[in-house]
Symmetry: C2
Subunit: 274 residues, 2 copies
Amino acid sequence: MSDTRPIGVLDSGLGGLTVAHEILRLMPGERIVYLGDTARYPYGNRSDEVIRAFTLECARELCKHNIKLLVVACNTMAAVAMKIIEQHLHDVPVIGVILPGVRAAVLRTADRKIGVIGTHATIRSSVYKQSIQRIDASIKVYETSSPLLLPLVEERMFDHDIARMAAQFYLYEMMDGGVDCLILGCSLFPPLFEVVQGTVGTRMQVLDSALWTAKEAQDILTALDLKSGSRDGGVERSAFLFTEKPEGSHRLMELFYGAPLTEYSIVAINRGTV
Amino acid sequence: MSDTRPIGVLDSGLGGLTVAHEILRLMPGERIVYLGDTARYPYGNRSDEVIRAFTLECARELCKHNIKLLVVACNTMAAVAMKIIEQHLHDVPVIGVILPGVRAAVLRTADRKIGVIGTHATIRSSVYKQSIQRIDASIKVYETSSPLLLPLVEERMFDHDIARMAAQFYLYEMMDGGVDCLILGCSLFPPLFEVVQGTVGTRMQVLDSALWTAKEAQDILTALDLKSGSRDGGVERSAFLFTEKPEGSHRLMELFYGAPLTEYSIVAINRGTV
């Protein structure tokens, strides 16, 4: 059976484009509808209540596009709002970006010490710690919110002393503690991969969840027999929606998608009117 | 005549509390209704269209409180949305946070070189440059957006090497160019006053607009004969509204208000429902 409905990818902004990219790389026959809530990004400092309200609103918007699978690509959304999405959207299977990264880290840690960096909301939720210790309660988890890293990505300061110093500031305790596996728990962090890996050295493996999340999407579509047999997928047949014009952020979109992404639409979600 | 209606102070988040504080210090008989759009803060990376829509929505909410003067305390709101506020709200006089700072800087610069740091949206608007050169076209204006400074305030890293390095990164060109007067063009920057002044040294005077904005509010109320003759004002008689619970930000509120601020209410503006 061939199911040509699109896969929905939900994010608070642009970072989830890495997940969209990996999905289309693994499954070039699929189409994606991406929704990034750029009008209200970033979510990471908001209260749980507001994150849940915003996320549900966006998920409902995405479901209007007749999606066969919903991938929550934003760590903050997945950390705080997974339950409420599952409660309200019964008709579509949902996966988040957190568990695939957790499983990859648990498989890789030799010293049973995993580190996680992310937004305030993601770290406050303890979702990484709980998910890791549900698999193996003996693993020690070091969690640190790292808000300074976000503007470093926006400023494209990947190879600047400030980036190295900020990475050191957030990670020295994990290095001291002997963490051997670090999860980048925010979809905007991948561009900092090299400066982070350079800071922690070879003893610590740095994991970005995009690839594992794409693999999990593939597994689920296969298991539920929802894969597209079409050759008519890919980025040209996908739709990229944002809640505000990502002004001045073409270079950022390229950064996350790995290629220029010039076609997109704007949807209005609770934007108010002028 | 005594007009006991409150003064409305509008901000995208918490920074405008410095302006509210100065207003009550100068005019202890006045009451304030403060509205901070913490659910959608920060505004500084958004498109002009969205900033205008969000700002107008908040201004209308604030006008429901029968205010006699509207003070736009957020630089991004004032830079991008002053016109649309004035177009839509006819019944209340409006002042922004930008012109008072501009006038103070123009009076103080001896070498006719003024620097401005602020959000992307504020700097993109060129409002500081235009306002300064409308007063004196011969003044040279150096403008730089400085997004790294915001999370430094959130992290309370006022005395950290990263703060000094970030200040240097954004200001070395102005120091080189001989700027002698620097406007902190974002209401969240005042806590960085000392690290900025320490970086630029004694040759450059650093200006924060809160005090001048409060003085302008006082002048306008006096000119329009709208001052309160009451002794029944002050912080206890004022109302502080936020669009989301400022979770974990009590310390930040104290930082901006200069004293603990424990009483506040939540208003729902386009929050969606769960």
